[in-house]
Amino acid sequence: MVDRSGELSPAILLVDMDSFFASVEILDDPSLRGKPVVVGGDGQRGVVASASYEARRYGIHSAMPMAIALRRCPDAICVPGNMARYAEVSRQVHEIFADVTPIIEPLALDEAFLDVTGAVKLLGTPLEIAHSIRYRINQELHLDCGIGAASSKQVAKLASRSAKPKIVGDRVVPGPGVYVVLDEDVLRYLHPMPVRALFGVGPTTANKLSRLGIETVADLAGLDPSMLERHVGSAVAHLIVDLANGRDDRPVEAGVKNRSIGHEETFSQDSFDRTQLDHRLRRQAQAVSSALRESGQEAHTVTVKIKLSNFEQHTRSLTLEEGLDDHQAIYEVASVLLGDHDISAGVRLMGISASSLRPRGGPKQLHLGLDAGSTADPLVTQEARFELREALDDIRKRFGKQAVGTANLLGEDGLTSPGQRDVAFGAKELPQILGNDEEI
């Protein structure tokens, strides 16, 4: 077959790692190879974050409750997950991307868009570039991935799924590894797909569309968006009809910063204890503040969300003139927001998120040291705190997150410094966060 991928303009790749978390676990513990491995919490509310292809043969997939997964495959090996390690491997993957193009837009630890238009002259056609990326990831990191190539993000993303291995019955059928969709084939490729495949169509929108008799992308493509506006809103209506017709000119955006940085936990058991919540809140504030500083940003809005055991959800937020990146300050604001919330129903989930992010190091209005005691020079204290944080961040960057921390995080096994995500998924002792590395 003739390689016509050079016609793609722009040339966009979506690289999606195969069973990323599970594969990293197998890499680190070769005795797991060939076995059904699931990563996720085994607590009551544990959720599958990633499953090896052996596990998928039993119908296990990510986001599935762990209890169901273990019922389908009682022999599955359940691993609690180590986000810090996955982040490290993800960085190595990104180093390979960076050799190809600087225009990288990460979607998750295991997934990223690459705009390789500018690399074509130097490195070959998009198809060749994709194969060389796969080859290097395989040779250097011993991991597999699927790559979709197209001239739009939407189609590249879908193509990456076509590139991946499939489960047919209880067999794993290898995929082509790289799947290219040329512009002239886009509509033929998209139209048979269910509407759910499109970006912007979640379960709710899909249900609404289904009630209107719209099941496939082809159904959607023939519609006038104004007919849908009443049902799904104007913005979504236009977006999805455009996508269904292959119109998608969203660029790959390198260095897009998150619009918010958050940390939330679903507790393995509902919490009724204000002191315990307070302790969690403090940990979350630390996680959020270190993620903020890692990204070089500070937040002007702090939001606290809680979900009660009856699934009632409350969010409260506060916007401040001053940008925050300090865990103590974030904790203090969050604590005010949590305030005297009625928690008698039991708290199932709690989280802090930081938004209205601005680059750090911009102008900063200094405070008079009103709260300091009369003995200490308040201005020295303020500057000193700033410098202390800088120094701690520097140490963590060089020696790892566990290298230094405050005493309240010291446990029997040393420091349990919380990263934004490196808490196991619904493990019995630790709070759980939801995450999934891919869908099949």
Binding site: L368, L370, S374
Partner: protein, 366 residues
Amino acid sequence: MKFRAERDSLVEALGAAGRAVASRLAMPVLAGLLVSVTNNDLVITGTDGDLSIKVELEVIGVENGSAVIPAKLANDIARSLEPGAVTIEASDESVSISAARSNFSLRTFPVIEFPQVQITSERQLSIPSAALADALRQVVRASSNDDARPLLTGVLLTTHNGALRLVATDSYRLALRDLDGSAAALGEEDILVPSRALTELQRAITGDEDEVVGVTATASEITFSVGNVSISTRLISGTYPDYRQLIPESYPNRLHLGKETLVGALRRVRLLVKDNTTPVRLSMRQGGVDLKVVSQEVGEGAESVDGDFTGEDLVIAFNPSYLIDGIEAVKGDEVIIETSDGTRPATIRAGEADGYRYLLMPVRVS
């Protein structure tokens, strides 16, 4: 209750007392104004539970008595009547407002539900109103409107070397003013007065030459009386931050400038500030100061102002509005800006010491 009053003075009195009426109501009756007539004296009282404003007015009394009338509606009606005499008469559950050929009847609130507004007089002092108005103009603007820090939403009244001292800060800047010779009667206790009451007091002061503001205070309340208006407020309880430790004893650098020229230049460069994070940079050097605002999306503006500078050359950045606030409040034509370095507070004061000082924290720029 029945009385007759002239429309304009009635409208003014209803408006003044109505300013204490809160927009969000803890009790329905607080949406009303208590109107009481004794012989020819009319007293109108509005309160939100914390702040009360009482206005006295001479009227033609017909029948003594009281009623609580809906504040906003009564004011709106009175204001739109034809000029001339207005008659107000209360019956059991309503009040009639009539003038010329207009006649309105409004439902009233039970008088018994209206909170008692007490004015006690434990400590007393009187302050010439012109001097107090000056001090309020200089200080109140530095107080905070952030309810999360209630102490800072007030103005501290304290004594300093026999003078009455007013202090306010929002933690970015601090304004302070000493009023000579008026503190003796205040006693040892510091008093923390909500800024809102002082803003109302500023309105009530007419600026007449011989006018005096009477102040009476208890441990929990303070009342200011000026002309026919009395403003009472609950005090803010708590210990005010120790502001004295913030005021540097001396500064290495001093810049002496003409006030109007500086304010004019700052106002012009401030035109480029489109958010509240963009600072103005001051480069202080022999012979004066250069001002510069760089606004990323908009562009930049620079000004140069001549003046006397002593000390080391220095670049320091400020929130331009805070800076203008402090300089505008200076009396006289000259202003002195004293600085240590780019991260320590600067002080703004008049060319000649007059009891006003404005401490301003810089904006740290990289």
